[in-house]
Amino acid sequence: MDIAVLVKQSLDVQELRVDQDTGKIYIEDAPTKAGDIELNATEEAVRLKEKLGGKAIAIMLSTWGSSGKRQKEAREALTRVLAMGLDGAVLIMGEGAEKGDTYVIAKVLAEEIRDKFRLVLAAEGSEDNFSGLLPARLAAELGWPYVAYATAIEVEGDYVKVTRSLEDFEEVVKVKLPAVISVTQEINKPRVPKLVEIVKAKKKPMDQKDFSPHVEPKLVIRELKVPKVERKQIVIEGDVEEAAEKLIQALKEEGVL
């Protein structure tokens, strides 16, 4: 059974610089990476593949431009997931991709997935936008069932048994394949590839394709604003006793004690 893992080229939000005074967001300067939860999806795909045979392939869509820097980062991110044990990767990159919304991207990815895979694994949300819309849209585009927030996955013949965690319930569901499943970070602990695996990963097939959608997006981002978080940032000085007293006094004045 062949498995596709969706890996988004995400902005590394930890490294993203924003200027609260000018409202500028330094997107071009920020590095990109594969999202942390996508490493969990990768780990799960590798484990399933090791048990069941077949291939597991990463499919990456790059939405932060196709400059030399972004090309290099995308390849590095894919090398990382390949080193974890995936068999190959497809990188979809192109000028139009920056304006693609989840509607457009689901259509582009579906063409890459239909007829080739029986199971698609994704993260519950991407590192930079965290909407979780794409796997759901992809499932609808493919006409496959979709189950989100998986904390355990077991394949049994034509079905996949998914344990998932919702706010109020723990659920075990049996889903007919082919299917799209999104995972949470609790599902596993991603392996850390050894150097030799990273070297080998560089020789694995990486297929680059041009992003060429046939449909128009339904959504336009009008503006990105920097939220004003105004914190007092007062450092309480003194020894332990003094600091505790000063803090209590300050909290009383705030009216929160």
Binding site: Y103, E186, L219, P227
Partner: protein, 304 residues
């Protein structure tokens, strides 16, 4: 404008109606398991009651909502996990635009304009959505409406080809006060060296009448606490009047979950930790020294 709404959670239903009323008349779908709470619904124009379907039936809901949505410009769903699971599927079935976790919404020139957090809380995206649109509404942003009796109309359940079968469903034990409703929260991070030491945080929370939450590593990686208490963009977003963050560095994931807190206190040994930029009051000290003293002094005040 006509708005169709559905949520698994009755608490969120009222917030959705309130959000929907900013756009127009709201029709609310209710399922068989929600029928007993029909009298709690205020502010909707009508209730579409589907007695033939339960709210645990994901495939049925996608079919039901998509089937009804043709008569509406906007479909509103909740931003809990079960709500978010529906948004993309329903939107795609309709060829509609979509957004999740929106904090505001309005109509301009025939487009739905929404705001939502992105980049792990470092930015707010203002998005223009073509109609029809399917969106989920951020928890706690819209005040439940107090009046307006809806009419009730029964609707039939669509037939669905089943590919998902629920074979086990366990209700999770309810935690005392849910984190997102707590007035005072003590949040713990990796500065705690072992699980037993968390009692320092529990003692502080007890004397303040608050609850304890955790960063992602404490809940997900170390599993010292339940994942229900995990604060952050993929966990719970909190808005207490007082938040005391102890031994957490302030990673972006976490920072995004605490932005709506009124007063934030940070306790950390590392004066360069990003958490101090997110705090009103910072104490650069070892939590093992500071917490017991703070708790003792608070006890003295509360006792006297």
């Amino acid at each position: 404008m006509k708005v169709l709404a559905f949520s698994h959670s009755m608490d969120l239903v009222l917030e959705l109606i309130s959000a929907g009323r900013e756009l127009g008349d709201v029709s609310l779908i209710m399922t068989s398991d929600q029928e007993g709470r029909i009298n709690e619904v205020k502010g909707a124009k009508e209730i579409l009651l589907c007695k033939g379907m339960g709210s645990g039936d994901q495939e049925g809901l996608v079919e039901l909502i998509s089937g009804l949505a043709g008569d509406y410009e906007v479909v509103l769903l909740a931003s809990d996990r079960r709500g978010r699971e529906l948004v993309g599927q329903v939107a795609h079935r309709l060829g509609a635009s979509s957004a999740v976790d929106v904090s505001s919404l309005s109509v301009e020139d025939g487009k739905l304009v929404v705001e939502r957090m992105t980049f792990g809380g470092k930015a707010i995206a203002v998005e223009e959505l073509g109609l029809p649109a399917v969106i989920s509404v951020q928890k706690g942003k819209f005040k439940p409406p107090e009046e307006g009796e809806p009419s009730v109309r029964e609707i039939s359940a669509p037939s669905v080809e089943r590919r998902i079968e629920v074979i086990e469903r366990k209700e999770k034990p309810k935690v005392g006060v849910p984190l997102d409703k707590a007035e005072i929260v003590v949040a713990v991070g990796r500065g705690f060296r072992k699980k037993e030491d968390l009692k320092l945080a529990y003692e502080l929370a007890d004397v303040l009448g608050g609850v304890v939450g955790a960063t992602r590593p404490i809940a997900a990686d170390l599993k010292w606490m339940e994942e229900e208490v995990w604060i952050g963009i993929s966990g719970v977003r909190i808005a207490p009047k007082l938040l005391i963050v102890v031994g957490a560095s302030g990673q972006q994931q976490f920072a995004a979950g605490i932005m709506d807190s009124k007063v934030v206190v940070a306790v950390n040994t590392d004066s360069k930790a990003p958490i101090f930029e997110q705090a009103d009051y910072g104490v650069v000290m070892d939590l093992y020294e500071f917490l017991p003293v703070l708790t003792r002094k608070l006890k003295e005040i509360k006792g006297g």
